[in-house]
């Protein structure tokens, strides 16, 4: 069973991310919404209409595929106009609509090319235009930026967000990249092993993870063991402590031993040992040259320790 007990509601006009490692069931969920797979149990509703058993071509949902799935034998215009052609829209009308959609994704004048003559980023834009030209109620995006290089991906993130705001269509997108999910989505559903672990705004999911899995997967948080948390807060529970909330201090706080350091560009990553607990910390470069074996003192504000109510995960 690929997904089980997945229960969530996406709001109209929302940018919703399904985040999880590969094999966590996020893509299966997307395919269930698109209609490529049918649920063995349970219900799916799109705008209040039950769609279990409804084939993909009768759903007001369009998909941007991970491999873009552009039709290789058709020109860019014919690709974009495909949905309109199927609906029986007159040729001149659909060519014009396709050209407008191409303008929207900033590819005007590319209509006569074949998909094989486009770069990866351009294909992605064509795939987007091909879906949006049908004015779907919901746009599904399956790892839409996965095949693009870093710079292009960051540009596309901004563009997708702007597009979604301008059109007001519900976007549901699948990603395994937590940074992407946090920066783009209004709300995030974190998937693991076919279950939804947590649904919330990026801030909620990041600062208040409800399970060890969410804490670790979203922003690779430190998960503090119950005994340690009991000493800190008086409550025996797992807690998450974000690496960037740990500060190096002159006095007070906790004594820690540096196990290792690495330079990550924007910050320095420290691996610390506090008694028998190992922590990752992201600190600014002002801490100077630390090396393994150094003894330092670290602290954090009490609010940084987020209790996660039991084991979970």
């Amino acid at each position: 069973m690929a997904v089980d007990r997945v229960d969530m509601a996406v709001e109209e006009g929302e940018f919703f991310a399904m985040l999880g490692p590969s094999g966590s069931g996020k893509t299966t969920c997307l395919r269930l919404i698109a209609g490529f797979e049918q649920p063995s149990e349970g219900a799916i509703e799109i705008f209040g209409e039950a769609v279990a058993g409804v084939p993909p071509y009768r759903r007001q949902v369009n998909t941007v595929f991970q491999d873009y799935a552009l039709f290789p034998h058709l020109s860019v215009t014919d690709n974009v106009a495909y949905g309109l052609m199927i609906k029986g829209v007159a040729k001149s009308e659909r060519v014009q609509a396709a050209e407008e959609a191409l303008e929207m994704v900033r590819l005007p004048g590319y209509g006569s090319r074949k998909p094989s003559q486009l770069s990866g980023g351009q294909r992605q834009r064509v795939a987007l235009a091909r879906a949006l030209v049908n004015k779907p109620k919901v746009l599904l995006l399956d790892e839409p930026l996965g095949a693009l290089d870093l710079k292009l991906r960051e540009d596309m993130q901004e563009e997708l967000k702007a597009l979604q705001r301008a059109l007001g269509i519900t976007f549901i997108f699948v990603t395994h990249d937590q940074g992407e999910a946090l920066s783009m989505a209004d709300r995030v559903a974190v998937f693991n092993e076919g279950r939804v672990m947590q649904v919330g705004t990026p801030r909620e999911v990041y600062h208040k993870p409800n399970t060890e899995f969410v804490a670790g997967f979203v922003g690779s948080s430190n998960v503090l063991p119950e005994t340690f948390v009991e000493k800190l807060t008086g409550t025996a529970a797992l807690a998450s402590l974000r690496p960037e909330t740990i500060k190096v201090v002159k006095k007070g706080g906790h004594e820690a031993e540096v196990l290792g350091t690495s330079f990550t560009g924007a910050a320095t990553k420290l691996v610390l040992r506090l008694g028998d607990v190992q922590l990752n910390a992201l600190v600014d470069h002002e801490v100077g040259d630390l090396k393994a074996g150094d003894k330092i003192r670290v602290n954090w504000t009490p609010g940084s320790v987020h209790l996660m109510g039991g084991a979970g995960g």
């Binding site: 993909p56 552009l70 094989s116």
Partner: protein
């Protein structure tokens, strides 16, 4: 080949290549030559004289036309049957995963690996058991068994290299199954089907062994030729027919070659999907 800086292949290699080509094509040329000989009982070399009269004689022989018509009909219908069945089978095998898929794939290809004589005997006994009289249709059935294989092989190779998400994308954009086949699947496999279909037609057109076992009184062109060689009567007529067949089949083969090579191609990397 050129690492030694020499400007061409060694003489021995050139001679070898030339000899190989002669070995393959000289007999075909001989057939052409004998189509114009003035002598009609034995194949005498050198021909005592040349004439064009056999062209006219052949044109006026009704049995030639009957055999040709039968062969074209059998090959056309076998090819159509093979195109439908082979494509469906290829689509099933490459699009879905099911129990026994590999076995089915092997069973489809097997008829072309089996000696024709086995296929022939098997079909003949099967038709006898089922009390099916030998007719035009039993020939078609026999030919379809191996024609399906070449279409299947071509189609399956193309399906494997056509992303499955194309079908899903088409459905997603509102096309039902039929529309998806018409606008997405067919254009993408068309050249593979054309190549497979031409090969199937050619295989059926010159098939002798299976035909011998599955035909009733009918004689397809190859069978008719065999019979002509046994009964020496206006022998050059056979050569004229052979020559025309060579010239006529050359055109579609060239066409298939160019169609699957470059012009009108859908994808740059799709040259290698022949059997």
């Amino acid at each position: 080949m050129r690492s030694d800086g020499a400007t061409g292949a060694p003489v021995a290699l050139k001679v070898g290549a030339g000899a190989g080509l002669l070995f393959m094509h000289l007999p075909v040329l001989l057939i052409f030559v004998y189509a114009f000989t003035t002598e009609d009982r034995t194949y005498q070399w050198p021909p005592p004289g040349f004439t064009l009269k056999w062209l006219a004689v052949t044109w006026n022989r009704p049995d030639v036309w009957e055999a040709l018509q039968l062969s074209v009909k059998v090959a056309s219908i076998s090819t159509v049957v093979a195109l439908v069945l082979g494509t469906l089978c290829a689509a099933a095998v490459s699009r879905t995963a099911f129990f026994g898929r590999e076995v089915i794939s092997l069973l489809v290809i097997l008829p072309i690996a089996l000696p024709g004589i086995i296929t022939g005997i098997a079909l003949r006994s099967a038709f006898n058991l089922a009390d099916i009289p030998f007719s035009f249709w039993t020939i078609v059935l026999g030919h379809a068994t191996f024609c399906v294989v070449v279409v299947y092989n071509n189609a399956v190779a193309r399906f494997r290299r056509t992303a499955g998400s194309l079908v899903e994308a088409s459905m997603d954009l509102g096309a039902n199954g039929f529309q998806t086949f018409r606008y997405v699947v067919l254009p993408n496999i068309a050249t593979a089907l054309l190549a497979g279909g031409m090969l199937a037609f050619a295989l059926s057109f010159d098939e002798v062994i299976v035909t011998t076992f599955t035909a009733g009184q009918q004689a397809t062109l190859p069978i008719w030729m065999l019979e002509e060689l046994v009964r020496p009567r206006q022998r050059p007529v056979t050569n004229v027919v052979a020559m025309v067949v060579v010239l006529v089949t050359f055109v579609p083969i060239l066409a298939a070659y160019y169609l699957t090579q470059g012009g009108g191609s859908l994808r740059p990397e799709r040259q290698s999907d022949r059997v």
